[in-house]
């Protein structure tokens, strides 16, 4: 029996919609669960004070600073490298043995568990390069960790820019670099921002690699050679060592709100950018 395409469509759309609802339900559950347990703890003092008594009392201010600085540093290193790699792979070369090796290497790098990055960072940056447990060691380690995500998403974004744009640009006498800079990258920006958001998300949510490289010191960093503690690490230490469940959830709640605000601002900025360009 042949089911009419219209009915198939209704059925499929229903299933897809169901899957979407399920995913959103899980998201809402996680967020509500954490906020419900965590928000009662979150006050201005909690945000602005230093942690006291191992994190049982006081706040998380230096930890918020650490959570901002570490991904910023990692992205500062990984973004130029990642977007540059993607530009090279798509704009400067054809599909060759070399690009296949680079893509394969990128995929492998994406698959390396964060714990291996952590061990590598511990021995290489902390040990051999004498950076100690520091913002710098952590930033470099995380940069390598998110590099494949940035490359992959940037590549998809760049590949999605219609070929005609490049042809028009070249036919007007622009060099390849000018085409990349003025035509390809601006049009690929939304996709690149997705990669940045995913990368920042991975940095913020990482625990194992951060503990091994950036350390766990809950004080204000004075230089790039000071250790920092991120909110994920703080949550881990409080929850796993059984120090304070309430403050652990409080930290997680702040983290989720921060990520929410970050995402909203990034998208708003991006759309404003696209609209301005369209005008």
């Amino acid at each position: 029996m042949r089911i009419p395409p219209r009915q198939v469509q209704t059925l499929v759309v229903g299933m897809l919609g169901g899957a979407t609802l399920l995913t959103l339900a899980v998201l809402v559950f996680i967020v509500v669960f954490v906020l419900d347990k965590g928000l009662p703890v979150v006050t201005w003092t909690f945000l602005a004070a230093n942690p006291e008594d191992m994190g049982r009392a006081g706040g998380i201010f230096p930890i918020i600073v650490g959570t901002l600085l570490l991904p910023l540093l990692a992205l500062g290193i990984a973004l130029p490298l990642g977007v540059g790699s993607a530009v090279y792979l798509n704009e400067y070369t054809r599909e060759t043995q070399m690009t296949r090796i680079i893509r394969f290497g990128t995929d492998c790098l994406a698959g390396i568990p964060s714990i291996i990055f952590g061990l590598f960072g511990l021995v290489f940056f902390v040990g051999i390069l004498h950076m100690g447990w520091s913002l710098l060691s952590g930033g470099l380690t995380l940069a390598i960790m998110i590099l494949p995500t940035i490359i992959r998403t940037s590549e998809e974004a760049i590949r999605a820019v219609p070929q005609a744009y490049r042809e028009v640009s070249c036919s007007m006498g622009a060099t390849r670099w000018e085409t990349v800079r003025k035509v390809v990258l601006p049009n690929a920006l939304p996709g690149i921002v997705t990669g940045v958001m995913l990368g920042a998300g991975r940095c913020i949510s990482e625990t194992a690699a951060v503990i091994f490289t950036a350390g766990t010191v809950a004080q204000m960093p004075v230089s790039a050679f000071d250790s920092v503690r991120t909110m994920a690490v703080h949550f881990y230490l409080l929850a796993r060592e059984g120090i304070s469940g309430e403050n652990a959830y409080g930290t997680a709640a702040v983290l989720i709100l921060a990520v929410l605000i970050l995402n909203t601002v990034a998208y708003w900025t991006m759309h404003a950018f696209i609209r301005r360009k369209a005008r």
Binding site: T106, C108, F120, P148, E156, A160, V180, G201, L255
Partner: protein
């Protein structure tokens, strides 16, 4: 002058493009240096196939953990990949743009939640549910697969949405003009065109599932024994390294680096497989 700037850019980009490979090499060389001598000393066959892991008695077999990693990853992808792609298709093709623009960042929010939080919720909410309704200790393959399946969703969804969004509208319009329904247009034209991006999203998601450590430690039970069912506790390769590395010395430490080498090879294998699949589909 312009030409030289262009050449300069080209060589700079080539150098930059090698950064991923260089990092990979550095990590690979470093892991092999620490792990390979141990594998040779212990015997590769014994190391890979033995299911006895008992560091205090110098028994180092990772067979059970390889099986566990495969089970957990397969379970996570069975949950995460279809769900993620379904959500991506729904959001890109069957929902008004403004709604998608709200929901997509909301889902990407999932990526910013630390894995330890997922693990903790899995341990506090999911494991007791499974223990009560399905039996077993609750900390098991099923819990780990569900938690990981949820964790790979943002990766799969956002990259798939971008890939589907990049398919030119003329493709859809062409199919619709030929009398196809919206779903037929999606199935026959859009999904085919977006395939490489979707597969990329699944590979990246799988990488995250194989490599996830903290969440797995909290929900998988970490028993280094060959599992006989979905409700049995298991220890994955990553969990083995993360759990014991901070306390390991001497041979034990080397054995954990050797576990890292195995993990490396497993991931290389999975990636090669995924790429081979992708190429065959592309050829057809």
């Amino acid at each position: 002058m312009r030409l030289s700037a262009d050449k300069f850019a080209q060589y700079t980009f080539l150098g930059i493009a090698c950064s991923a490979i260089a990092s990979l090499m550095l990590i690979a060389v470093f892991s092999l240096k620490e792990g390979l001598p141990f594998i040779l000393w212990y015997g590769p066959v014994e190391f890979l196939t033995s299911t006895n892991w008992n560091p205090q008695e110098n028994q180092f077999g990772v067979g059970a953990m390889i099986v566990a990693s495969l089970w957990v990853t397969a379970g996570a992808m069975l949950i995460g990949a279809p769900l993620g792609v379904a959500v991506a298709v729904f959001l890109s093709e069957f929902v008004p743009r403004p709604v998608m623009r709200v929901i997509k960042p909301a889902i990407e929010l999932l990526a910013g939640i630390p894995s330890v939080v997922y693990g903790f919720i899995g341990m506090m909410v999911l494991a007791p549910l499974i223990r009560r309704h399905l039996g077993g200790p609750g900390l098991c393959i099923l819990s780990a697969a569900i938690v990981l399946g949820i964790m790979v969703l943002p990766t799969v969804i956002s990259i798939s949405v971008d890939a589907i969004g990049a398919v030119p509208n003329s493709f859809r319009e062409g199919a619709l003009a030929l009398g196809a329904t919206r779903w037929q247009a999606v199935r026959m034209v859009v999904l085919k065109a977006a395939r490489s991006g979707i597969v990329a999203s699944i590979i990246l998601g799988m990488g995250r599932a194989v490599g996830e450590t903290m969440a797995v430690i909290m929900v998988a039970g970490n028993t280094p024994r060959l599992p006989h069912g979905l409700l049995e506790p298991v220890r994955t390769l990553t969990a083995n390294i993360a759990i014991e590395m901070s306390a390991a010395i001497g041979r034990h430490r080397e054995a954990l680096f050797a576990t890292g080498v195995v993990l490396f090879v497993v991931i290389m294998g999975l990636n090669s497989l995924a790429m081979a699949v992708m190429r065959r589909k592309g050829a057809r």
